[in-house]
């Protein structure tokens, strides 16, 4: 579904990503792990269009998205969450979900000015869908609360709901367990598995091995901008390079 070929990203003289090759198969949960500063977030930014690779290609459902702007990529069906929550804090939870559906609306400014039937119909469906999502994520009570004022856990879930609101085929989760306790992490894992069950493809970038173990069908390991290993959780546990990367992390203390 998503294929990365020789993707590189140079910042000045520094290579944040070097010849990354990766495939995310449809209907599966793929994991991407690696120590701090390995280039995980750079990679997800490149896939979601916030950044563009300096070399190589990214293909999504046979479309080259390497240089596409983010909104086009979203329209093609890739959604994401962020390592540090990036909700629209001044807006209510409901409005956040409406924005998530931005690309699905068709009504023009003019139509909204004159309350055209299409505008009214469309607003109604968007709202209905937003309420569905709120319910699905147990956020009904928060509908009219500014997102910035919600408790942390609710914000996390709202962000995921917002990503789903864009009707993606592929969801990129950037360290979704950051700041969560083990119980919450496990709940999130179940949520991801439910998504997979409903036919969703997921790419999880994580630090937390327990979540990876719980949900991933296949795992890539990134270190110093390069994929150093790839396989199932069981296979990687015994890979010396992976062990080295993870053990070495403490000693190097977040290099690069």
């Amino acid at each position: 579904m998503l294929i990365l070929q020789n993707v590189s990203r140079q910042f000045g003289g520094l290579a944040a990503l070097a010849n990354v090759n990766m495939t995310v198969p449809e209907g599966q949960v793929t994991g991407l792990i690696g120590p701090n500063g390995a280039g995980k977030t750079t990679l997800i930014n490149n896939i979601s269009g916030l950044d563009h690779p300096t070399g190589g290609t990214i293909r999504f459902r046979d479309v080259d998205i390497s240089r596409q702007p983010p909104h086009k990529i979203t329209a093609l069906g890739i959604a994401r969450t962020y390592q540090n929550i990036r909700l629209f804090g001044e807006m209510t939870a409901l409005e956040n979900l409406l924005i998530g559906q931005h690309g699905r609306g068709k009504a023009t400014i003019l139509e909204s000015l004159v309350f055209a039937p299409r505008f009214r119909r469309e607003e109604k469906t968007l709202r209905a869908h937003a309420f569905e999502l709120l319910e699905q994520f147990g956020l009904q009570a928060a509908a009219n609360t500014p997102a910035g004022a919600l408790p942390y856990g609710d914000q996390r879930r709202l962000e995921l709901a917002r990503a789903i609101a864009t009707h993606p085929h592929l969801i990129l989760l950037d360290e979704p367990t950051a700041g969560m306790n083990p119980v919450e992490t496990h709940q999130l894992g179940e949520q991801i598995l439910r998504l997979r069950a409903s036919g969703q493809t997921v790419l999880v970038i994580e630090h937390d091995m327990s979540l990876i173990q719980q949900v991933c069908d296949e795992i890539y390991v990134l270190n110093f901008g390069q994929i150093i290993a790839h396989g199932t959780h069981e296979a990687l546990k015994r890979d010396p390079q992976v062990i080295q990367a993870y053990l070495g992390e403490d000693a190097e203390d977040g290099a690069a």
Partner: protein
């Protein structure tokens, strides 16, 4: 009316207050979308000159002049916005200051420039002398209707998909892009709309002040327009209108304080942004004060107002 005139507020004051409210709304649109643009004085100049040239040199009626002024401002905003709106916060502010100055100087030199191009002497903008003896065609009710239309437009905008996209871009442009919002498109459309409103205000005001010259639309004007929005507050569309009214009426009410006006203006701008960041009309801030009065603690994550969150570095 009696009460207003007892405060020294005559009809012209009301008219200029309306113009300034419209100007406040023009910059409100860009601020609401997280763009700190100081280009609106330039667009006002373009609208004023286009409008007046249409009614005075071409002899067409005022509504066509206003429409022409708005259109011209919008048309010029397009090629300016495309490259400039890639810039953020301070850089955008500086670039738009530069734009305003270039507009002013080009209007100043417009006649010799055009005369040189077409090979005969023409008088279009009148250079530094400007265009004089413009009949006073603008009536108060014109301005009231225009302001109501703009306000209606903005309130509808806020409740539309496009308006939500504007707010989203202000709060987090990158996340907004990931939501499928074409940020470049939205920002440019807003920039053009803002320019058109400023252009309209310019065309109306040109037919009120009876004389327009390039010097009336310099950096000082850009700061004035900013002040309307900042004082009133940019968390709702009501703020800039209130700001425009207050800052226009204030000098009239304070006529006794002639010499200290500059001091008062400077203090207002500085103190409001430092100590009343949401401006005069700021529901969130009022709620916070109210809650504090009732002895409750305000929620820790209070949403910042839009000038505040105006632009992230």
């Amino acid at each position: 009316m009696e009460f207003l005139s007892s405060l020294g507020i005559s009809e012209p004051v009301v008219q200029f207050a309306l113009i300034n409210a419209i100007l406040g709304l023009s910059i409100y649109l860009t601020l609401f979308t997280g763009m700190f643009s100081l280009a609106n004085a330039g667009f006002m100049a373009i609208g004023a000159f286009t409008g007046v040239i249409i009614t005075q040199r071409l002899g067409l009626p005022l509504p066509i002049g206003v429409a022409g002024g708005m259109l011209m401002a919008g048309v010029i905003a397009l090629p300016i916005g495309l490259p400039v709106l890639r810039l953020r916060d301070i850089y955008l502010a500086i670039a738009t200051i530069g734009f305003g100055e270039v507009v002013r100087i080009l209007i100043l030199n417009f006649d010799p420039l055009v005369s040189g191009l077409i090979g005969m002497d023409v008088e279009i903008t009148g250079g530094a002398l400007g265009i004089k003896r413009i009949p006073k065609l603008t009536e108060t009710w014109h301005l009231i209707i225009f302001l109501i239309l703009i306000s209606y437009f903005i309130t509808r905008l806020h409740r539309s998909r496009f308006g939500r996209a504007m707010a989203a871009i202000r709060q987090d442009e990158k996340a907004a892009a990931n939501m499928g919002i074409d940020t470049v498109y939205v920002k440019n459309v807003v920039f053009i709309l803002s320019a058109m409103i400023a252009g309209g205000a310019g065309a109306w005001s040109g037919h009120l002040t009876r004389i327009i010259s390039p010097g009336d639309f310099g950096f000082d004007k850009a700061v004035d327009i900013l002040a309307f929005a900042v004082l009133g507050g940019t968390s709702t569309w009501v703020g800039p209108i209130v700001g425009g009214f207050v800052l226009t009426a204030l000098p009239e009410v304070l006529r006794f304080a002639d010499q200290f006006r500059g001091v008062i203006n400077g203090l207002i701008l500085m103190l409001v942004i430092v100590y009343v960041p949401g401006g005069l009309v700021n529901p969130a801030g009022i709620r916070r004060i109210f809650e504090r009065l009732r002895g409750r603690k305000s929620p820790s994550a209070v949403p910042p107002t839009s000038t505040e969150a105006g632009s992230k570095a």
